[in-house]
Amino acid sequence: MAAALTVSWSALAAWPHWLIVLILLPLGGAVLTPALYALQRRLVPWWALLVAGLTALTVLPLLWRLAHEGPFSYLPGGWARPYGVELRFDEFAALLAAAVALLAPPVLLFSRRYAARAVPAGRLPFYYTLLLLNLGGLLGLAITADLFNLFVFLEVVSLSAYALVAVGGRPVAELAAFKYLLMGAISSLLILLAVGILFALTGSLNMADVAQRLPALATPAALTLAAAALLVGFMLKAALFPLHNWLPEAHASAPGAVSAVLSGLVVKAGIIGLVRTYQLFAGVELLDTANLGAILVWLGAASVVMGSFFAVFQHDLKLMLAYSTITNIGYIVMGWALASPQAMLGASLHLFNHALIKTTLFLAAGALIYRTGLRTLEELRGIGRTMPLNCAALALGALAIVGVPPTAGFVGKWFIALGALQAGRPFFALVVVFGALLAAVYYVRIINAFYFREPEQKAVVTAREVPWSMLAPVLLLALLCLGIGLLARLPVEFLEPAVARLLDGRS
């Protein structure tokens, strides 16, 4: 029985076109959404959910094949590398794709009731269209192995993200969206400039091909500029300190389900970009990658400290969560830049786990706002009594963000701290501990406000649990925050060879 199942799985996974289907499904689904709305507007939320669900299923055979065969490519048009655009499914693409697959269906299910209130009616079809475009763009960005194609998908992701921030129509959100757009456009330009320089130097756009050709070059300044432009560009997209200014307002003022996608997934696009940059320049001896790494380690550490510090002093629940995103991006970048096997492993794990945790938190926070219309901890006092399940989910997510074992947040941070010790830099292990302590402070603030204070606001006293179609995704994700931490062995085994390969390419 088990054998038959295995055979059919591998037969399914052997179909060569899953990789292109993975991006065509959400993008094609998005393209048809406005037309579907004109035909049958009630179907749109279900349609989006269906598309997201099918996309999620598509990831399964891909993961299967990756686990059994290692990274593999797909060549649209059949042009051999480097003449066409290559799509490639490696472990890091898989991380982001798995996160998108896991989180997209709950977010869209949550959206059906939530967006009906948070988004003006006329904008609803475009809300779903943009969400699907955003998710499809993220998948494309994760799997492309071509520099310019990366830029194009990055633009799909960014443009839809700017608009999604403003889709709720709050004046604050529109200002935040414009700020986000300006920063995002500058970072995109820097990335395009770097792509241009790399193209002028190598005559190629395929990442593997470029990486192969770069070490032979004798142009230190041009290489440094290209690397710096890519780094700064992707750091801006990922909101790493000191380029984080645009993030808190944009993520806090967007509708809750959008905040979840932005904080959970979209900033990870910047991280994937940083990973790809690293892969490009790992073999270049002219460039002092160790120096660049040292800068990134410090910036990551600064992000951890500054993000936590600001989060502790926020009154607005969503702003607090937004600053915590900066902290967690800091962990991931720090882990990567420490460049020891365990730290990199931890960073990769945390990329996925943070996506899960932050989505849980923002959805739960969105549900509180949906019922009460209140945003600050002061106002939400005592909400734990009237919305117990939702608040339990939020508390569980908050525990995970602190990194209490055995929650999802623990594993990544644990490995990053171990990796810091392994790299002989215990200071950065201290940074991890310090960040966790500060996170515990705002965790206590949340718990204190929700459970140990008397409700004052009328909206809090009369609040009820949100409808099941919103509560179920939140609870499910919260349970996953707990459960995934227990299953950490699996992704660790999966990622270890990838990290080893990456570090090999470097030496």
Partner: protein
Amino acid sequence: MKKPLVIALLILLALALLAAMAELPAVGQADAPVHTHVSARYIEQGEAETGAHNLVTAVLLNYRGMDTFGEVLVLFTALCAGFAVLLAAARNGNKHYRQPPAPQESGAVPVIAVSPVVSFVVRLLAPFIALFAAYVILKGHLSPGGGFQGGMILGALFIALTLVLGKQYSARLLPVAWRPWLYALAPAAFLVVGMIGLQLTGYFLGYPQEPAWHGVREAMMVTLEIAIGVGGAVLVASLFLALESD
């Protein structure tokens, strides 16, 4: 106070950029990697491999079709983004969403007051410009031009006509009921042609290369060109209408 600092920083940035660019292969050098690596293949074999005389079109539709698919998606995203930002926010709860443009009587844009002479010239030239755009779209694989360029010309023409003749006219040119379908035209054409390619060659967006299939190959390219041209024009025109409807 702030300005001198910014200027000083920008000068530093400029120097860094110049230092890096000085190391690049000199401009116009025929043996630079740009010309000897990937591009060389496009120039030497592009015509045989794709059937397009215009190598830019060969790259856009064939070698790097995924980029162009992404490009029309970016335009589609921009339009949806425009709607998501601009459509009436105050009408929460209203089940009838306003499909732009609302039929307004005072459709004139304040800054762009059109004189009778301009109006006459635009109307006079419109058929010729449309014809030129069609030529650019249809012959894009043989001569300079292509779906995208022709589509932009068509879109610009539509905008000029709307400015001159008012929105009632644009609603006739671009019926409101068709719009959601037309928005999808360009990206959907990529999906369809890509799938046909998958059936014929085993690769998404692949084009059959055997001589017997050259007619099919050209038909696939022209289909994409027309879809990009018309679809692109609709997207650009609708962006204008969305912005202008306030």
